[in-house]
Symmetry: C2
Subunit: 340 residues, 2 copies
């Protein structure tokens, strides 16, 4: 059962819960902001429901509650961030702010974070960047779930990455995605329903494409476009993990298998100050025209108009800011318990 919670209340609750878990108030508020935005976007799997699992890892020493996140500027437009094994969304927000400062000064800036953990959904970072006038490419690596194209062993993560461009007069463009064709949950659903799956979704344990969801659950998710999605996932890991001096590929510790060990995940935040390129009205006009051209495409199915990336999430955001955030009642209850 879902209940409706006003944004401010959920922010206070999530922030309070993180404080109870040992985070300083300011850090708790920053981290909560990312997760609440996740819920606002309708990505409840990456929203405040995560606070509980962060808490479990803090309790067994897998994540540090009072992390000393350090930002080191290593070039005029480049910073390295040491997350000190803090909660991911805190490290993420600090890195985002560092990249904003650099980009404001130089037109473009990049922050590379290491010693971090799961940083929540990517979209909220892109959204905050866009609201502040920055285009962005933001990514994180993840523990291994995907086999390289032609391989039969998981060696890379289903790394999330987002590309965004602000729109001073309306909805920004936000493409937030992982590089698998579908999420594992969709394969689980098919298995439960006893349905077959397209052979482009996953391989069996031997690395061969399969239409059997049960075999797929023993195997590996397939990236979009075969070797292209495999390459894109590697790009994200190279920027987020290898260049940041974090772990990469099989060096990334699995949260589920060893929750007591630091993950040493890495992220990158590349921001561009688009206001250097032209006036607000110049950008607004072009962004609105860009959207109009896409929206005006004759649809294959008249009932389903063409969409622009981010549109669904931003509609959720607008509606839930107005009417309250739809949250699983059990998640809310556990959050209230944690915050007490």
């Amino acid at each position: 059962m879902n209940v409706s919670v006003p944004e401010a209340k959920l922010q206070a609750l999530a922030s309070g819960a993180l404080e109870r878990l040992g985070l300083p108030a300011e850090d708790a508020a920053l981290a909560a902001r990312v997760l609440v935005l996740g819920d606002l976007f309708g990505i409840s799997t990456h929203g405040v429901s995560r606070v509980e699992s962060y808490g479990e890892r803090i309790r067994i020493g897998g994540i540090k509650a009072r992390a000393d996140v350090r930002v080191e500027r290593i070039a005029p437009a480049m910073a390295k961030v040491d997350g000190d094994n803090g909660v991911g969304p805190l490290v993420g927000m600090r890195s985002l702010h560092a990249a904003m400062e650099l980009a404001r000064e130089s037109g473009i800036g990049i922050a590379f974070a290491r010693n971090s953990n799961h940083f929540g959904p990517v979209g909220p970072y892109s959204y905050l960047a866009a609201e502040a006038g920055f285009a962005s490419v933001i990514g994180s690596n993840a523990s291994t779930t995907i086999a390289p194209t032609g391989g039969k062993e998981a060696r890379l993560g289903n790394s999330p990455v987002a590309f965004a461009v602000p729109n001073p007069g309306g909805a920004p463009f936000i493409l937030d995605m992982a590089l698998s064709v579908v999420a594992r949950a969709k394969i689980r659903d098919a298995a439960k329903a006893g349905k077959s799956i397209p052979d482009t979704w996953a391989t069996d344990a031997q690395g061969n494409a399969t239409t059997d969801p049960k075999a797929a659950l023993e195997g590996f998710l397939l990236p979009i476009g075969g070797h292209k999605g495999y390459g894109l996932a590697l790009f994200v890991d190279l920027f987020a993990g290898l260049l940041s001096n974090a772990a990469y590929l099989t060096h990334v510790n699995s949260w589920s298998e060893s929750p007591e060990k630091p993950g040493n995940l890495g992220h990158f935040f590349c921001l561009i100050d688009v206001m250097r390129l032209g006036s607000e009205s110049w950008l607004e006009e072009r962004m609105q025209d860009f959207r109009s051209i896409l929206h005006a495409t004759p649809p294959a199915d008249p009932q389903r108009p063409v969409l622009v990336p981010g549109e669904i999430e931003l509609a959720h955001l607008e509606r839930q800011r107005r009417d309250g955030i739809s949250l699983d009642a059990a998640v809310l209850e556990r959050l209230q318990t944690l915050a007490r």
Copy 2:
């Protein structure tokens, strides 16, 4: 029939042909460099064979031979490049060099180019950046061939984009790709062979997925991963076209339909000086380890070991630098005629 041509000879020929078409010697050499690298990589569709079509467009005024390419620095780490409707690879090389300078100074730098044309293959730019110590994200927009997800009219281009990371001790990582599942040529081949195609390759003219290659040739290429590839193609166009103040989406002039009109294509070159992040040996060790982890993946088919993006192209490069570049004899002859 293919013949073998030494790299230096092909460079001189392509450069000479471009000079005959009216380009200043220095500009001709720069543009030729990109195309010859395309052939070295084994991407002959985007190699020196393009000189002929550039020439046709120069003759009818669609491209300017003596273009005044201007680089304007608009922020410490950001430049705008006006290509003055010059040949694409010339504008590309000038933009690449501008981005290198910015990144050398600030750690990261970005150049946005407008008033350009087809800039050749992307991989060579990434390769030159990697050889000079820069990681890169480079892209260009293109005239419309892809329908938005759910649409039945081409509104975006099959934009090429490349992601690369240097490796001081060996092969760099270079992922150079377009965002369609396959190139149109593969569908043409299937049509000729009377074979059906997977329903993930293209739609018919009504925007519905099809297995009939003839219907597909009347329709639109499908991007990788459905809405994900659609979104990625939009990201490339937003950065390359919209932010650069070039044309975008349906505003991009079609080379084949109106060769006499300027294309006003746009590109972006985002470069990162990785030497700011650690020592050469630090990077080399990590890059070699990264490759080893992938290469050591047990393959699904023992005859087909797992590859890393760029590996095939770089093997072509090495072999052809040693043994000469394999070139269609007819292409060579036309080039010799042009260069005379």
